[in-house]
Point group: C2
Chain length 259, copies 2
């Protein structure tokens, strides 16, 4: 892992990193407590389609987990997004750029069966490296990713036993990889919070409920709020943080085990 | 209002009360902070069918609101329940008693159109009296009632503008009073938390979602957990308390208004 920019603001250190895998760069951001010493919980954040690891809500969630709860957080760019944006698109205006990223992702989702496995491998390589660093260590790992962050994140959560708890949502049991999503959902064993928007224009409520039903874990809950796909309310982020803290924070885990 | 038993344990004062209305007794329990001086938030708790104001979960919720959050709480018996149990049933074994209460309530729900209005009037009379007491005062009022506590509570919440926030659930847009439920749901204006059990054998999930859709307030959320009607998990109670505190507690209200 190679670190580039390194800034600290409001008690949170943010570093950009890149990591070689399969002949290309994984491009990510890492947020930690300045001077921290591991092990501590690490939350991996998968951004949504048309965004990147630098999306406002990704950064805000990561900083909150670090500053208020002493965790570490990391995000990497998904396929054709962020630093993985094809050169032909980089020059476009932001709106057009976002529209094309969404379109390109949809094409890959429908047409490239290796995309999901490649992203799972990217996350695994990232986790391998991060958990070997003294400021993070092999602490409990959580996942937060909605929409594309669930399309690509659910397979990672299902495949990676180190991920103990996951916030998923804005997605349903549907789409080109539906069969895989069903199988991956059935394989999930840890606690899951599924966030659903009642008027989601991209993934209908019935498909989201079917995804909830398909989750193999009994430790699951679905929070439904009114509004469209992108209108996730602040309280859903509050609930995400509370859920991850209760699942991953050593103090909460001790209390739950009664030790 | 006449008070009978008065006990204080673990920082919570519990008093039983009765109140004459329409020629019969409303029978209730009131929980307050010993030595409290109002105004403070008051949560009214409607118990489920086959139970009473003394149900373990009613008492536990009330005591928690008082002890940890400085609120007041009150519960009254529903029709044919608790102290309103018909004399012919009182002598029966508890299991048989509960079965008959459920049956009698179902008959009333289907056959007596005055039942709901009578219960709304009971709650109004109770609220009138409680809010005039110095240890409670005219503070913000919340509602918590699931199943029968929603069947009878939603009409109260819809009719009574003093109720500012409500936890409802384990019920759907169905049953003999369905048309009224739809109209009452549409009239609700304050924040609502709707609790739903995914495998509810009494009120199916689709009907619960229809009730969520019917709620006229935009400030609503539905929390879905796995399990049957009576298997509401502890985290749903935690969420209830958090929701009521955020909606009613003066400190939270000030913060929300940004003052």
């Amino acid at each position: 892992m190679r670190f580039d920019a390194d800034t600290t603001a409001a008690e949170v250190r943010e570093r950009s990193f890149s990591l070689q895998r399969a002949g290309r760069d994984i491009s990510g951001l890492l947020w930690t407590t300045p001077g921290a010493d591991g092990p501590r919980p690490l939350v991996l954040i998968g951004h949504g389609a048309s965004g990147s690891k630098r999306d406002d809500y990704v950064v805000a969630l990561a900083r909150r987990l670090v500053r208020r709860h002493g965790m570490a957080a990391a995000a990497i760019d998904g396929p054709v997004h962020g630093d993985r944006t094809p050169a032909s698109v980089v020059e476009l205006a932001p709106d057009e750029h976002r529209r094309l990223a969404l379109l390109r992702f949809s094409q890959l989702w429908a047409g490239d069966p290796t995309m999901t496995d490649e992203m799972v491998a990217d996350w695994r390589a990232t986790l391998d490296d991060l958990s070997s660093r003294p400021e993070i260590g092999a602490g409990p790992v959580g996942w937060w990713g909605l929409s594309m962050g669930t399309i690509l994140g659910l397979p990672f959560v299902a495949a990676e036993r180190r991920v103990e708890a996951a916030v998923l949502g804005l997605m349903g049991l549907t789409g080109p990889t539906q069969a895989r999503i069903a199988a991956d959902a059935a394989a999930v064993r840890g606690p899951v919070l599924l966030l659903v928007q009642s008027d989601d224009e991209l993934f209908c409520r019935a498909d989201a409920l079917a995804l909830f039903d398909a989750l193999g874990t009994g430790d699951k809950r679905l929070y439904l709020h009114p509004g469209r796909h992108s209108a996730l309310p602040a309280e859903a982020f509050d609930a995400s943080v509370r859920f991850l803290v209760e699942a991953l924070d050593p103090e909460h885990r001790r209390r739950r085990r009664g030790t």
